[in-house]
Symmetry: C2
Subunit: 599 residues, 2 copies
């Protein structure tokens, strides 16, 4: 996916930062500063040669952002220009706080669809939601809750990427053919496409497919074994911008002599920059009645919780998808996203997050640092101020081709093959994530995948590493059990039934069961209760239970539960010593050797 070395930006820095971050989160050292302001790490080492790449990528993303912004404003049920208002501030702030060079923050299809039912045509709700969303995400980030992202495994990320690429790409298929009708889901997009296929516009389809083929060829250009490598490399990088310029030129030239435009273009937008003002804490309803902050909150309802969470999930999963196994500092991503939303709300923005499509285009255009975002932001501001008429000429088919070609290279074919080779079982969360993302929803699908993956951990906790063997020492037949790792309540019954079954099978000759457990760090109340009940059950079978050399923490749980249970625990230097003490202790009832566990 990423064709360029990223030694500048990723070069071991996020890893070390991540590791240190956990330790030194609160101390105000240079490393904390570097961590909280990633720009501090990369900007001093910025080289002029990166500028051209970042410029090209930023402009390419900017061109997409303009058109997508307009579309998403409409999706949210607001005047289209609100999509553009939402698009620029995130780009600027992410430069300072963001950790992933590829991510572009702005309005997305999912965020727009989420806010739509709460807006009722009044932009004030969307802007307030953006502000609240920013506050919540920032708070969660500062609380370092990004660590929870570790529950998103590689198979889940891969499944999400596959599904997201297919969904976003399929959403553009109608535009590629010049079909008016639109839909955002994978399935409905194709149903819609085949239902309206007879409405295909020849001009748009030719432009769309032509652009797509041109983009694919130009992507391969840099691999050509010719002398002028530098030139072909830059041509390859500029392919998206070239496609847009060709599209605008064609549209302009072919429409000079006629009233009608040759291709379908984006909707018209109102020119002018958004006003700078605090988010609205009160508004008026459709009848002009004033509504307080409380009224607005109750109107937004559950969205106050779900929109920030979906926003985080979308942004962090994109960061994970682009990190290619590098560690993502999710808390820092959340801080960045929080600031982006917070400040954007002062420019009449609706809730924003990382955009999968634009981040993919950014990556495919070879962006080197988050500085690319500056050019995207400037382009959007310029568009709002002066260029609404020029950018009005971007054919939708051109944009569809750019997005589809980015999506084709988004899918991590290699990782899918790796999962297949490494561990077949990991295909389950991958397939589950992909299918539920495709046929249900991108965010909930990811949660489904995470839940299914978590079931593996929970399932494994039912059967701890527990070995039982019967041994004979000096005529004394005893059963020695070894227990490794931690034991959770899910394993309590397994331990008990396995032990009782083993002792029962030994045809009543085993009089002693020894459980070794120096490596058990901790047990919970359920396991403790079950072990005490196991001792009672074994006593009925005339078998004594001894816990030998247990970790003091685990032993403490049982002894605090039942003082009498202290006699179960024996501590000796060697197994021979234990056997000797048992031989003596049997006569002396030497409970006193159980060390003091009262702490």
């Amino acid at each position: 996916m990423c064709d360029y070395d990223d030694e500048l930006y990723h070069e071991r820095l996020p890893d070390v930062c991540g590791a240190l971050g956990a330790k030194a989160r609160s101390c105000c050292s240079t490393s904390t500063l570097k961590r909280m302001l990633p720009v501090y790490s990369w900007l001093p080492r910025y080289k002029p040669k990166y500028l051209i790449v970042d410029f090209v990528a930023g402009m390419t993303v900017g061109l997409t952002a303009v058109t997508q912004g307009i579309a998403y404003g409409a999706v949210a049920g607001l005047p289209p220009v609100y999509g553009l208002y939402s698009s620029f501030m995130g780009c600027f702030l992410y430069i300072i706080f963001g950790t992933c060079k590829d991510i572009t923050v702005g309005p997305t299809a999912i965020m727009s669809m989420m806010i739509y039912p709460h807006v009722s045509g009044n932009p004030d709700y969307a802007v307030l939601m953006c502000f609240l969303s920013g506050c919540i995400i920032l708070l969660l980030g500062l609380l370092n809750l990004g660590v929870l992202v570790r529950y998103i495994s590689v198979p889940v990320t891969t499944g999400f990427t596959l599904a997201a690429a297919l969904t976003v790409g399929s959403g553009q298929i109608n535009n590629l053919f010049g079909i008016q009708s639109k839909s955002n889901d994978f399935l409905s997009a194709w149903i819609n496409f085949f239902g309206h296929i007879q409405e295909t516009r020849r001009n748009d389809a030719i432009l769309g497919f032509g652009t797509l083929i041109l983009l694919l060829i130009m992507r391969k250009l840099k691999d050509l074994p010719c002398g002028c490598r530098q030139l072909t490399k830059y041509l390859s990088l500029c392919r998206n911008v070239l496609a847009v310029i060709i599209g605008i030129l064609l549209c302009y030239l072919l429409s000079r002599d006629t009233e009608e435009l040759p291709f379908r273009i984006s909707d018209k937008i109102t020119p002018g920059l958004p006003p700078f003002r605090p988010p609205p804490f009160h508004t008026v309803d459709a009848e002009g009645q004033p509504l307080s902050f409380g009224d607005m909150l109750s109107h937004l309802g559950g969205a106050v919780a779900t929109i920030p969470l979906l926003s985080i999930l979308e942004c962090v999963s994109i960061a994970k998808a682009f990190s290619k196994g590098k560690i993502v500092d999710a808390s820092q991503e959340m801080i960045a996203l929080g600031f982006c939303n917070l400040f954007s709300s002062f420019f009449s923005s609706m809730p924003i997050t990382g955009s999968f499509a634009r981040s993919a285009i950014n990556n495919a255009s070879g962006v080197r640092t988050p500085l690319g975002g500056a050019f995207t932001g400037i382009l959007i501001l310029l568009t709002l101020a002066f260029l609404t008429s020029t950018f009005g000429y971007i054919p939708k088919a051109t944009l569809a081709a750019i997005i589809i070609s980015a999506m084709l290279f988004m899918v991590e074919y290699e990782t899918i093959a790796e999962i297949w080779r490494a561990k077949k079982r990991d295909l389950v969360p991958f397939v589950a994530t992909a299918l539920s993302c495709l046929f249900w929803s991108l965010e909930y699908g990811m949660l489904v995948g995470m839940a299914i993956n978590a079931l593996f951990i929970l399932g494994k906790s039912m059967t701890p590493q527990f070995q039982l063997e019967t041994q004979k020492h000096n005529g004394l037949e005893l059963c020695l059990a070894e227990l490794k790792g931690d034991v959770d309540y899910t394993a309590a019954e397994y331990l008990k039934t396995t032990t009782v079954a083993h002792v029962t099978e030994q045809t009543d000759t085993v009089r002693l069961m020894i459980i070794k457990g120096p490596e058990i760090r901790s047990i919970d109340a359920t396991v403790a209760l079950n072990l005490i009940s196991l001792r009672d059950d074994l006593q009925l079978l005339q078998c004594e239970l001894i816990c030998w050399n247990w970790d003091i923490r685990a032993a403490g749980v049982i002894c605090r539960l039942q003082r009498k249970a202290r006699s179960m625990f024996w501590f000796t230097k060697s197994f021979t010593e234990l056997l000797e003490m048992i031989a003596e202790g049997r006569n002396n009832k030497c409970d006193q050797i159980a060390c003091d566990l009262s702490q």
Copy 2:
């Protein structure tokens, strides 16, 4: 809670059966027979002296079942007699298939509330639902899915019991005071009670409190240090039946000379046994139009899945609550519950499950074996046939006092104290379960508790047992890492960041990182990818990564992922040998020592 020795019924049998069951589920031996038909284990050893206790308990439960049955029939939106139709078949079948002596199967408040919206006044839907529910539960039980009950820990069970006792007890507070208005939730019951407190009826309140005090005193009777222990013990056991007889007598005597009854009594019911007929697979709607099986299914909708699941959850959690740490064979419980529903549906029953209130009364009455259920069942049949008028005189206040006194001794005060002493952290799932059961719903509250408890396991999986130390051998500074237990994807980042941070802190003198891992059974694709990326990251720090003596299964995952990674794995007999080979191998690039991992 249980005052009597249960050597007959629980005596180690379920434990051994449970352990063997997992192994020998499919073989048709005597142990399988014993397992599938628990009656086979206890009936041959049944002693005549148990009969009187079982009879008293069965009759006491029966008296409650009659009144509750009538109430729950009405709750489900059906003619009240359907509650009685649902009450007897489960009692008989549970004797044969049930594993828990205390459980009484029949209609419950929750099941009635669940079926209510799907019935629309037509009993055919309820009976079909009972049949379908039986089939589904039986199937799940035969598939041995009861093992999933291991995810219900002791703190969750204790929290559920506390909340259930409070909910069921609070639901009776209005009846105790003779207040007409009724509500089933904990909170709404008390709001309702204080809202209608001025409607308290003096007669009912006196009878209710008098009965309650009598019951509590009689419960203590058996502990009296007097000569006639046997007599006081039986008096103590019969206390609930005595209370009912006193209530009926008082009601009868006081109403002889007046038209009006002195106490509030249950609603009138239609006499007569239910017909035996297959469940209805077609019906007619309110307008008399015929409805097919498909129409009925689509009318029942999601309830076809939720009702069986809630039924299982309710029954198994009650079994767990009464087992006091003994192992519950949940699959067998499901088989029993499945048969109960299946056969009940032939007697016009609505969906049934284990009843918490009646099981508690059963236990408090000192039931010894499931045979008590036979007397309950016979009493209900007799009531239907002849006794509707007699049992019409049971005052509601008497029944409320019986239920409340059973609930008081249901709460596991001792276990709560044990959890507090053993492990404070386990109070979290306990409190979460109790609160969400009380203020949300009993079943969903239990799921909340299970989810929160599962988070402990998931949380712990983030930090595996991983120790790092720097050592010096023959001038070679190396970092030795020990990894114990399994490593899940959640730990992948922790391993990587910890290792990189440790190597970075060593001020660039460590050139070798050795990860010991003989005890790692398996790793997943995410961990494998992270280890490969860790090797690359360490190479940037001029440090080589060696995985020493890893389990072949874990090593295999990484090697299948990347053939080149085979050189990471070294296998030697001792650490000295490893150091020697490293010293030689460094010059010879001896990749060949990595054993063949292609399997």
